[in-house]
């Protein structure tokens, strides 16, 4: 049984705590600079002479890889290190309510960062006539991908009282989940004579494959279901880990 009032109270506290320190602003600036540099310089946005957001959406998973673990690493580790976990979990809230509140706060924070990339859309619309449906799908995909990465981050943060360990584990899991779907890895697996059914099976577990479909403008309930599945799985794992190790 979960109480939405409790979730909302915890959500507000966590969300606000991002903005209580300069961390949030440093994070948002870093996010925007990184996405900008990657889109316009690494992906040569202008030289492509195409009015679409492909270069932006191709780069966003790699920005997430670095920045989402940084924004989630403290969610449980800090509660453990300072002992506030004992305060929080002896209040009349369930662990699941606390977990969901924290998860939604971190996801909403990344949502703001994604929203602030809107000038790229304006630039593209100014230069040409992009397919706004595809832009919407890309943003929806980016948001869902962010949710999956945040869930991975909150699980990693629950593993240890050290934020650094939380960061490194989240980065490792996310990196693994991303690269099993990129062409180079799939190609290499095929070259090693791994049966194509297994290669396809591995690739279909990748965060990247489902995102690629969405940024091309295809919304499939299968892809949406995949991201929700990853979030549910990671939050359940975080629940299990926190429950069994909260006193250590």
């Amino acid at each position: 049984m979960t109480n939405t009032r409790n979730i909302s109270t915890i959500f507000k506290r966590e969300f606000k705590s991002y903005f209580d320190s300069p961390v949030a602003y440093v994070f948002l600036v870093a996010f925007l600079v990184l996405t900008g540099v990657m889109t316009f310089i690494l992906q040569s946005y202008y030289e492509r002479r195409q009015a679409n957001l492909t270069p932006f959406f191709q780069m966003i998973p790699w920005v997430y890889l670095l920045l989402i673990p940084a924004s989630t690493m403290g969610l449980w580790a800090e509660e453990r290190r300072t002992g506030t976990i004992e305060l929080l979990l002896t209040l009349p809230v369930t662990l699941m309510e606390a977990l969901i509140g924290k998860f939604l706060a971190a996801w909403a924070f990344i949502g703001i960062a994604i929203g602030l990339t809107f000038p790229i859309v304006i630039t593209t619309a100014w230069l040409g006539d992009p397919d706004m449906g595809a832009v919407f799908c890309g943003y929806l995909g980016s948001f869902l991908l962010a949710g999956a990465c945040v869930a991975i981050g909150i699980f990693s943060s629950a593993l240890s009282r050290s934020q650094v360990i939380g960061f490194v584990i989240a980065l490792s899991i996310s990196l693994f989940m991303l690269i099993i779907g990129i062409d180079q890895v799939i190609g290499a697996l095929a070259q090693w004579r791994v049966p194509s059914r297994i290669v396809n099976g591995i690739a279909s577990l990748s965060l990247m494959q489902h995102f690629d479909a969405m940024r091309r403008g295809v919304i499939d309930f299968y892809d949406i279901g995949y991201y929700i599945g990853i979030m549910v799985f990671m939050l359940s794992a975080a629940h299990f880990v926190t429950e069994s190790r909260k006193a250590s």
Partner: protein, 243 residues
């Protein structure tokens, strides 16, 4: 109002708490005594629902802490050891957060927060960031969060640890003011505290309950009436206690 039966906690092969049972009634201030590492904090963490017992149970206001944790926790106010607080919040903001989690809103919320601030003498730091507070104010802020909902059971883990004599006096004063209509449990290894506030004493050593009595009766077991000697006899292994 609070019943603990056969509470046991194992951490791997180490038995931290062994078969502890006791009950506390309204109006009592129970001193939970024992040397460092005796199992006081572990027992309190089980009673407040932070960690599950390996076996045994704790019942608070009729609710089993394992079976109905949320209802049991509504009856408890808890001051954990070292007064953990969210450092990036302001005192008032933190108490508002606790009040909302406790189910208050609007005018009632404001009234409850104001009352907790007054009772804990926090008016002067109302708008200060928690990370800038001194140890005494931190302790009192955590105390304020524990009493905000006027709980029937108040559990405090070493509430005066690390405070100066004046601050200790204030905390004890606050405990006395509230003791009439509550169950209060305080853990401590400071013996003077027992005389200052407790109406009953439980001594725990090496995870086991070794005494459950009133301070006067406990003191009477020593010919000279010295509490420190009584405490040592109860909690120190015999071979170290021969001088």
């Amino acid at each position: 109002m609070l019943t603990v039966s056969n509470l046991t906690k194992n951490f791997g092969s180490i038995q931290a708490v062994k078969d502890v049972s006791f009950t506390v009634e309204k109006g009592e201030v129970l001193g939970f005594l024992g040397p460092n590492g005796a199992g006081k904090s572990t027992s309190m963490r089980m009673i407040t629902g932070f960690i599950p017992p390996t076996s045994g149970s704790a019942t608070i206001c009729g609710y089993d802490i394992v079976v109905e944790p949320v209802k049991a926790k509504q009856c408890i106010g808890y001051l954990p050891e070292n007064a953990p607080l969210y450092n990036n919040m302001k005192v008032a903001e933190f108490l508002n957060f606790i009040g909302k989690i406790r189910g208050f809103k609007g005018k009632t919320l404001k009234a409850k927060v104001d009352e907790a601030i007054a009772k804990s003498r926090l008016e002067s730091v109302y708008n200060r960031s928690i990370e800038d507070l001194s140890k005494g104010y931190r302790q009192r802020t955590c105390f304020a969060q524990a009493i905000l909902h006027d709980p029937q059971v108040l559990i405090m883990d070493e509430p005066t640890d690390g405070l100066d004599p004046n601050q200790k006096f204030v905390v004890r004063q606050m405990i006395k003011e509230m003791s009439a209509d509550k169950v209060i449990i305080i853990s401590t290894h400071i013996l003077e505290e027992v005389d200052a506030v407790c109406s009953r004493v439980i001594v725990i050593a090496d995870g086991k309950l070794v005494a459950n009595s009133t301070p006067d009766k406990l003191r009477a077991t020593d010919p000279q009436g010295r509490m420190d000697i009584v405490f040592r006899n109860l909690t120190m292994p015999e071979d170290l206690n021969n001088d």
